[in-house]
Every structure is written in C-alpha cells, then in structure tokens.
C-alpha cells in the first residue's frame, strides 16, 4: 500500500514548467529520499502532497485521499517541515505550539515538550531572533508533535552546522523508529541520504527518472550505497533525462 501516489503530474508556474509527467510512489512505513538538481520540482511535489497546489493534470493521492478535496483530513495526518520557518516572526515557540494545537486533533503537548527539550529549542525567543538551526528544530518539533502518519521534509539540513544537523537527523530517525511512519525527504546532503533512505527517487527535468530501493543505487562492483554512488546516480539520471526528455 502506498502512502503517497503521484501519477503523471504536470505543474507549471506561469510559463515555467516544473513537473512534466512526474510519477512517484512512496510506500507506507518506508523512508524515501528525493534527489535531484536544483529547481522547483521537488518542492512542488511536496506542495502537491499537502494539497496546497492542484496539479494541472494527473492525480495525487495521500493516504488514499485527494489532498485537494480532503485537504483537512490529509493535512491533519501529514507533518511538513519547510526549508525555512514559514511562521510568523513575532511568535515564540510556545506561542506557535499554542497556535498550532487546535489544528491537529492528535497534537500532544507532552510530545511537543519532549522534542523541544531533546533538541534544545529556545523557548524564550521569537522566530525573528532565532538562528537558522534553532528555527529548523522548532519546525521539526511542530511537525512531529501531532504524531503524523506521513512526514514531509523539504531540505531540512541545508545550511545547518554539523552539530545541529546531527541533532535534527537524530530526531528524524527517532521519529521513524518510534512507529511505522512514512517519510519523504528532499535533500542535497548525500551523506544523510545514504544513511536515511529505504528508497530513493531521482527527479530530473520535471520527471522522476529513477526510483527504487536504496540498495539499487550501489555503484558497480561495490556493496554499499555511498554518497559517491548517489552522486553518480544523479548525474546519470540527468543525462538520461536530457536524452529522453519530452
């Protein structure tokens, strides 16, 4: 059973076409990492899962529901961590939690507090005055507090110093370990990808060129899925895409 099914989706922002027939299957309970070059396609896929965007053509199903039609039900079960904190700068973390709580029926204050403590998120400063890492951690705590079925991460590790990166990664892994949870993570950090992925998908030129278990992505004559192997896979996929682009 696939937690997320994206089928032949086209999307564009004005003239710029970012998705041109992308298909992606994210099985339930597995951690899928989405790789690819810079561009807006990957983030767009996440937005489609949230129901914030409606695909021009194609279908999107999250947990069996249409995220546009059943937006509320989908969003209650999907945690989203944006690449930058997208909440109001004047809020502190406790205020943000107070704000978010009524939106999620499964929100747990205890869980939120525990994650905040585990990540050492400052509770007395507003988001405007927090560093990037602190903001990121707060966003992660906010996304995990309602114990979502699906966790979407949009470049959570970008621009973090190594210590914070490790804390965030640890928290994500803990969340995955707690219970079966579907994770779709966009990242450029290939080390994280190698550590985290059960499955890997590569997006290039608006199409998912390659998708499969992480073990498929080993370099020839090697056993392990290394960052280098992933880098080669991405380059190869880009080449494929250039050739086979519609």
């Amino acid at each position: 059973m696939n937690a997320i099914e994206i089928t032949d989706v086209h999307q564009a922002y004005g003239r710029k076409r970012v998705l041109q027939g992308a298909t992606l299957r994210v099985p339930t309970g597995a951690t899928t990492v989405l790789l690819g070059e810079n561009g807006e396609g990957k983030t767009t896929l996440l937005r489609l899962c949230l129901g914030v965007l409606k695909p021009r053509t194609g279908t999107v199903r999250v947990l069996g529901l249409d995220p546009v039609r059943s937006a509320r039900r989908v969003r209650e079960q999907v945690g989203f961590v944006p690449d930058k904190p997208d909440v109001y700068g004047w809020m502190t973390v406790p205020e943000l939690f107070r704000f978010l709580k009524p939106h999620y029926p499964t929100w747990s204050e205890a869980r939120a507090k525990a994650i905040v403590a585990a990540l050492a998120v400052p509770t007395d400063r507003t988001f405007k005055h927090m560093s990037r890492g602190e903001g990121m951690k707060a966003m992660l705590a906010a996304a995990l507090a309602p114990d979502p079925e699906v966790l979407l991460l949009d470049e959570p590790f970008a621009g973090l110093d190594p210590l914070v990166r490790e804390e965030v990664l640890r928290q994500v892994i803990t969340a995955v370990g707690d219970r079966p949870r579907t994770v779709l993570c966009i990242t450029h950090d290939l080390d994280v990808a190698a550590r985290l992925a059960d499955r890997i998908a590569v997006l290039s030129k608006g199409v998912v060129v390659r998708e499969g278990p992480a073990s498929d992505f080993v370099a020839p004559r090697e056993e392990a899925v290394t960052p280098r192997a992933l880098r080669e896979a991405i380059a190869h996929a880009a080449g494929l895409a250039a050739v086979g682009a519609r």
């Binding site: 803990t174 370990g177 707690d178 550590r195 985290l196 392990a224 290394t226």
Partner: protein
Amino acid sequence: MDLRVDPSLPTPPSRQIVEAVLDRIAAGVVKPGDRLPSVRGLAAEALVNPNTVNKAYRDLEALGVVEGRSGAGVFVRAEAPALARGERRGATLELLKGAIETAVGAGHEPAALAQRVNQWIAEAGIPSNGVPSQARNHEVSVTPRSARGRAAKLLGSEPGSVRGGA
C-alpha cells in the same frame, strides 16, 4: 554503545554494525546475556535508518550470535563470544594480511617484521580466558578504518604510537 557508521565506506552500514557488535562481543565488552540496544536507540545513536539496524540484528541472529526475545529485546547468546571471535578471526586475518603486505611493500625487513609481530602478540597478553588484557580496560572502536590504523601502529609505521611498554 558509542557506535559510528560511515556511509562513505564501501562496507554497507548494516554490515558495519554487525562487525562492530561482533568486535565488542569478541573483546568481551558485550558479554553473553547482555541486552543489545533497542533498534531505535541504536539507529539514533549511529544515525542510520532503523531498518538498517533491524537488518544488522537479523544478520546477527542468523549468525547465531544473538537471539530476539519477543517484547524483551535482543540478547547475546552464550555461544556468542566464540562465534564472534570465529567470525572476526577470519576478517582480522584478512586485515593483517593486507597490513603486512603494505608494510613489506613499504620496505620493512621480513625478519625484523616477524620479530616485532611476536613481541606485540606477547604484549597483547592473551590470558587463559581468551580475552586480551588490553581490550578489558578500554573501548575498542572497531571500524575497519581504525583497525587498519591500529595495525599500522602495531607495525610501527606511525611515530609515537607505541603503547605501554612496547
């Protein structure tokens, strides 16, 4: 357990975990009857996907080193040290072979090399219980890379690396 996984290595992460656990069992750090860390705990510590840890534990179970008791966790079996050492013996022998080939290639005299090796073996002090004295006192970080490094130290290719009274 202070375990680190390095994904840039050619060894798959699950295998890295298996080897690390085997090394600890072989060195007596982890004794029979001990409970291994929970999957999620080890995954969080090593920063790997819990499925990786799951696979490692399954592999360890297949080797007969551990057994899973439902609900209680994964426990080290009595036969584990012997099995572990058996497993690691083969691997460490491979490593030693590789290290010696490297040393010989670097220009060490074979006879002096052999003497050095014997000396270190004596120092390593294998007691009757089969657990090396050194290993008893401090953690052994048994990633392949550090193993290679140790071997290099043993063979004197790194200055200031002599321990104890060598």
